[in-house]
Every structure is written in C-alpha cells, then in structure tokens.
C-alpha cells in the first residue's frame, strides 16, 4: 500500500489518504469525498451557470471526471482545488451548450475596458436591503452577475463568494496570481457599477 508521508512536520490533509484509497479502488473513500464537497461544487456551478438543473448535472459530471482522472492528481495541490478546476470547466461547458455551441472560456471578454476605472460616484444609502424585498434583491443580484463575462464571474465566485485564496483561485483556474488579482478587481468594479444603476435609480438620483 502506498504510504503518505509529509515532509518535515507539515500536516497531511485528510483528503490525501482518501484519495490514495480511492485510487486503489476503495469506492467508499471516494464517496466520502463526494459527500464532503458536493454542496460546494453545486454552489460554484450554480454561480457560474445561473441554472440549478445545469448545476446538478455539473455535480454528477465533475465527480465522475474526477474519479476517472484520479490517477492524474499529483497531490501537490489540494484535492478540493483540483476538483474545483474540473467543476469550473464542466460549468463552462454547460454554459456553452446553452449558447448553442458557442465557445465559452475563462478568457472570454476579459479585455473589455468596462470596470477598469470606477465611474459612478453615487452612494447607495441608506440600505439597498431595506429598499428591496428579498426576492427582488435576489433577482437584481442574479441579473447583475449574469451580465458579467464568464472570466470575471468565475474569479469573483471562487475568491469572494467561496472564499478561496488568491493562490488557490489561480491554481484552480490555471491563471497567474496577477491575472486573478486584475480580474477580481475588474469583476468587483463592474458588479458595483451595475448594481449602482439599480440602487441609485431607486434613490431618485437618476442615472448618469
């Protein structure tokens, strides 16, 4: 049996042992990994596809692909980060299918100038959450993030919503750390700018 040793005193993540067992054909070990991460994968897929049926399909396809490719997992990254990479790719494939075959990649539309500099100066006060009903606000948030290019939406989701570190996000997406930081900045500014259009209007300030 393969032994898992960590260099020095570094702690070994419990997933490492589960992955090793799953590689040797222990399906129960793999099922433990599925139960551990299915909700996160479902959430990430939902954020990217904005569609719950697609997100369910992504959960199934991503775990299946992970199982098939388990021998390729090097172990120099976390299993979860590796799984996220698969889930993001599967989610982008679902988006492509919805767009009747048009390519969707994390590099799409990221060259846009929008959001490179903040323009809208309006404050949102007193509190957008008080001004809108919960479902109305949810719809605004959904429409707003849906309008974001996939390359920005994915970075924002992993970094700001799912709480991955910049390094983990870079690793999961195969991007450099500066690229992640640049996309995150622009994603945040674009979302803020687009939300301002709703929140300013409701304040009666009009739109610039």
């Amino acid at each position: 049996m393969e032994t898992i040793q960590s260099p020095g005193t570094e702690e070994v993540h419990p997933d490492v042992a589960l992955v090793a067992r799953a590689r040797e054909g222990d399906l129960q070990a793999f099922e433990t990994l599925v139960r551990q991460y299915d909700r996160q994968v479902f959430r990430i897929a939902q954020h990217i596809t904005q569609n719950k049926e697609d997100a369910e399909d992504v959960v199934q396809d991503a775990f299946l692909k992970a199982y098939e490719k388990l021998h390729q997992f090097q172990g120099n990254s976390k299993f979860y980060t590796w799984l996220v990479r698969i889930a993001v790719n599967e989610s982008l494939m679902r988006l492509r299918k919805r767009r009747t075959g048009k390519m969707v990649s994390i590099d799409e539309d990221v060259e846009t100038e929008e959001g490179s500099m903040p323009r809208d100066l309006a404050d949102w006060g007193p509190d957008p959450e008080q001004m809108y009903g919960q479902s109305e606000l949810a719809e605004i948030l959904r429409k707003t993030i849906q309008g974001l290019p996939p390359g920005f939406r994915v970075v924002f989701t992993l970094r700001d919503v799912e709480g991955l570190s910049t390094d983990e996000t870079a690793e999961a997406l195969g991007l450099s750390v500066p690229a992640v930081k640049s996309r995150l900045l622009r994603a945040r500014l674009q979302l803020r700018e687009r939300l301002s259009r709703y929140f300013r209007k409701k304040n009666g300030d009009g739109v610039k």
Partner: protein
C-alpha cells in the same frame, strides 16, 4: 484602485493602511467606491442560492457511484 482592492482583502502593511485610511477620509470618490464595493462583495457572499435538496443529492450520489463502479 488596486491598492483599495488590497485594502479590501486586508493585504496591506500597517503603514500603507494608515496612508490609505487617511486618503479615504479626504476623498469622497474613493470612500464611496470602497464602501459600495465592500457592500457588493457582502451581497454576493451572503446571497442564498437554491440549496441542494436531500432527495436530489441522494439521487446524484447513486448515479455517480453507479457510474464509478462501471469505470
């Protein structure tokens, strides 16, 4: 803007944080941008999505494990 982003992520030194806080006190544009960007992140981080219902979760598990067995 990149510095304000680092400030949002708490990735600045104490000295730079002092300088940026001082700037924010006197610059309405940056102050509003910072606050509304922070709110934007909070909205999405706290946003409730459709949860994965247990019966669907179990169905997905069965389908995944069935296919894995056939691999």
């Amino acid at each position: 803007m990149a510095l304000l982003d680092d400030l949002l992520d708490d990735e600045v030194s104490a000295a730079l944080r002092r300088d940026l806080d001082e700037h924010l006190n006197g610059c309405e544009h940056c102050f509003i941008t910072m606050n509304t960007t922070r709110q934007t992140i909070e909205f999405y981080a706290n946003r409730e999505l459709y949860p994965l219902p247990e019966p669907i979760r179990e169905r997905l598990h069965s389908a995944i494990m069935d296919k894995c067995r056939k691999c």
